[in-house]
Symmetry: C2
Subunit: 222 residues, 2 copies
């Protein structure tokens, strides 16, 4: 059993400023949730989830079009908070995101009723939520800049290089489909480019994994 | 001479909650600025401008890549506030936007020093700024959805239809270049498509203007 109180006190900078009742409200509205890699966490028409804190694993937040094309907005890594899932209690956010587990993930989910109630009489709580949203906005603008500034080979190289650094491994457990979703591209485009990288000796492709064979050549592409 | 105090009292919901000194600080740091259509208002490396209120006219906020390609983020219309230009006093915003006047525009510019000083001891001021940022985030996600969900003919038709409604005119003073920037596309692509629309009797193209000839046909394309 995880120690909810300690985690909430650590992640919420307003913890000591709110009343004991408000702290109890948040604690009672907080639940541990586990997801397997690939599980949907939220679809665009599912109920508002409230705030979520990622204890371990990784989530991918995205929007999708009617024809099923997905645009990844950002990732929620271990230690990150996702607040766009609390859009029902944050009026200026007028869009719905979708979320899936990129890896096996353990979350703390803070119910929107509890979060909304405490927020309604604590401007500090609302400011905290809005500040995280502004950070996510920065992430989305960064992705948008990448999308429009760089070619597909460059963007794939950046993705692989970042993943290598993030996971501290030369063998990445990632599918072509996952890269396509991360880069808002088509799987076929990614597969073709990865095959070119393989012919150049930069990577070696396996089932559901990509091994980096030449880190320096990869870096040069960026 | 415009009446600055009346405008600030109207646009800032926190006006009555802050001290008389803070109100003076904001008033003294507020200046009227005029721009001609096409004028740059802010480039990515120019100094932080503070908050801006659009009295009349229209601004376009965008990001641009190294090769000069522009992605329009949103428009600031008469009556709107732009706060992303105050990024120097709003830490979670880690990107720089660029702004140009889409039309002859009159602004009230509230210096970042004044805004930052008042914000530093009034959580309500920060809250106001962050809420506007969250609204802009919603605008950007909306554009992103359009970009990925709709074809170029659909997006041009939507642009023309929206402009017709916004300006309440069948004759739009807009160049192919402007549409290209609004839709993050290339001018050639827009010109080719507009020519097709002209052949179908939907629009008539002139120098720097587009006349809507068949509103219903335009709507059907969307």
């Amino acid at each position: 059993m995880i120690e909810k109180k300690g985690i909430l006190a650590k992640i919420f900078p307003f913890w000591e400023k709110i009343s004991e009742d408000d702290r109890s409200e948040l604690l009672q509205g907080t639940f541990e949730k586990k997801f397997k890699k690939g599980d949907p966490v939220k679809s665009s028409n599912s109920a508002c989830l409230g705030a979520m804190y990622c204890i371990s694993g990784r989530l991918r937040a995205y929007i999708s079009s009617d024809d099923g094309k997905e645009v990844t907005l950002y990732y929620v890594n271990s230690g990150d908070i996702c607040i766009l899932t609390a859009n029902c209690v944050i009026p200026p956010i007028s869009f719905e995101i979708e979320i899936e587990a990129e890896e096996d993930t353990i979350l703390l989910q803070i119910a929107p009723t509890a979060f909304g109630k405490v927020q309604s009489h604590n401007v500090e709580v609302e400011n905290f939520a809005l500040r995280i949203i502004a950070e996510r906005f920065s992430d989305v603008i960064w992705s948008l800049e990448q999308f429009h500034s760089f070619s597909i080979p460059q963007r794939i190289a950046m993705y692989l290089y970042d993943e290598m650094n993030r996971t501290k491994s030369m063998i990445l457990s990632v599918t072509h489909e996952q890269i396509a979703k991360a880069l808002a591209s088509a799987r076929e485009v990614i597969s073709r480019q990865l095959k070119d990288f393989e012919e150049d000796g930069i990577v070696e492709l396996g089932r559901g994994k990509i091994e980096i064979m030449d880190k320096d050549a990869l870096k040069k592409l960026i």
